[in-house]
Amino acid sequence: MKKSFLLFAGKRKNWSIPYIIFLGFFVVIPLLLIVFYAFSSRTGGFTLANFQKFWNQPEAMHTFIFSIGVAIITTVICLVLGYPAAYILSRMEAKTAKIMVLLFILPMWVNFLIRTLATVALFDFLRIPLGQGSLYFGMVYNFLPFMVYPIYNSLQKTDKSLIEAAQDLGATPRQVFLKTILPLSVPGIASGIMMVFMPVISTFAIAELLTINNIKLFGTTLQENIYNGMWNYGAALSLIMLILIGLTSLLNAEGNAKAAEEGGLL
């Protein structure tokens, strides 16, 4: 017994087996379960009723489209605010830049509920009523670092000699930026967009807290259905979201793989 174990463990590729089993059980099977539940009725038979319900129910559909809108607007604001910041950071001295980037990422490590409640507190403190404005502020506040960091990373890695070459060849500063720096930072922009768009669209609880339950996003619709025992319908809605996310990441396969390789944010 002991000997056969040693033989097994001696081959180091076998060391991946426990994790492969674990991944299968806790990642692959659960995702397949979403598909299975989405296509079955309460009693277990195959059905498309869950998707028809989504199609026919204006409320869920409306929330879905509204959430996409919120996610797009938030992503655009983050990009507009974040790109210049990332650019400035990439131009700083290495040591200062490191500290500055750390300052930008740091708030992300505080529980997002606490952060969101802090934003609510800020609005209360300044006597600004909660509504659409506070929703967008809260979203941008929560997700801006996710935009700054990847863009900064790609800007910082650009080969400085390319920029110098452009300058030597007589490009104006504007041309240098538009023709050299911007195209070279596209991978960073792409992964920044992913990292903001995807979490915003699936966010849950932030919108409710920021608007005192006046605005609901799709994540909340998912949660409510699961909580009310409508597992099949909830699974169908999750599948719809998964497809949307799958499409977004297909559009962005490269930036995505890079973001994953860099271990997300560290």
Partner: protein
């Protein structure tokens, strides 16, 4: 001139990011129930926090969070390290597949992971509580450990391990004396990353915690916020968490800087 403009832009973004957190920290030093009222300096909220019995549910939520975080991070570290060694020794094709599966939990939005795991546990009829939360946390933390250990393996000189074996070390001894010291930095940052991910998690926890009254910090805050008022003691707690995270991040950063220096020396 340009520089002043750039610096003030970065400055104002940072003020926006930190204003809410600062408000929470400032108002943790006063007793007022409602955030924004200053009723004089006091440490009462801090002493309340550490006196057992005053806020029993809050302190038990805090303990649960820490225990779940430590167990999940520790198990993730072991599982992820063994997995990384295994994956490194797989044939390229198999390796690609496992790495792809490893990226799924990282790229999946929280709520999809949460719902998929919820469906797994209910369809197996497992009652939800401590165990399910920890299993769920391990499943989304381990991929990050794999990603932080894997690069260490790639950087390592493969002959070292073989040399140890040739010199008469048993495989176990070689593992302990050669492989582990090389992997340790990756394991430690994987552990810290897993721990912060676990204590910060809200959505997955909410879906796998069941309704037996078990609370972690984030589900506690969520329930509290939905009731309307925030327990004042959350202010000092958030302040403490923020400072702790700050300290942890500085440690990680310091380690990274040191490692870089070492690499440059070699």
């Amino acid at each position: 001139m340009k520089k002043i403009l750039a610096n003030s832009y970065i400055g104002s973004l940072l003020i926006m990011l930190y204003a809410p957190i600062l408000i929470i920290i400032i108002f943790s030093f006063t007793e007022a129930k409602v955030l924004g009222n200053w009723t004089g300096f006091s440490l009462k909220l801090y002493t309340n926090l550490f006196q057992s019995g005053v806020h029993h549910s809050l302190s038990s939520a805090l303990w649960n969070t820490l225990i779940i975080g430590l167990i999940s991070a520790f198990v993730s570290m072991l599982l992820g390290t063994v997995a990384a060694i295994g994956i490194y020794n797989l044939k390229p094709r198999a390796r690609k597949i496992v790495q792809f599966a490893n990226n799924i939990p990282i790229l999946n939005p929280d709520i999809i992971t949460a719902i998929s795991l919820f469906l797994l546990f209910v369809s197996l009829g497992i009652s939800q509580g401590y165990t399910t939360v920890i299993l769920a946390h391990i499943s989304f933390c381990t991929p990050y450990v794999v990603l932080s250990v894997y690069p260490r393996l790639r950087m390592m000189n493969e002959n070292l391990y073989e040399a140890a074996l040739d010199l008469g070390a048993t495989p176990f001894y070689a593992l302990r004396k050669v492989l582990l010291p090389e992997l340790r930095p990756g394991m430690i940052s994987g552990f810290i990353l897993a721990f912060t991910l676990s204590i910060d998690d809200f959505v997955v926890t909410l879906f796998t915690i069941g309704n037996e009254g078990l609370e972690t910090l984030s589900t506690y805050i969520y329930a509290d916020a939905r009731k309307g008022g925030l327990t004042p003691e959350l202010r000092p707690l958030s302040a403490i968490i923020f400072i702790t995270v700050l300290a942890l991040l500085l440690v990680i950063n310091h380690r990274a800087a040191k490692r870089e220096q070492e690499n440059q020396k070699h």
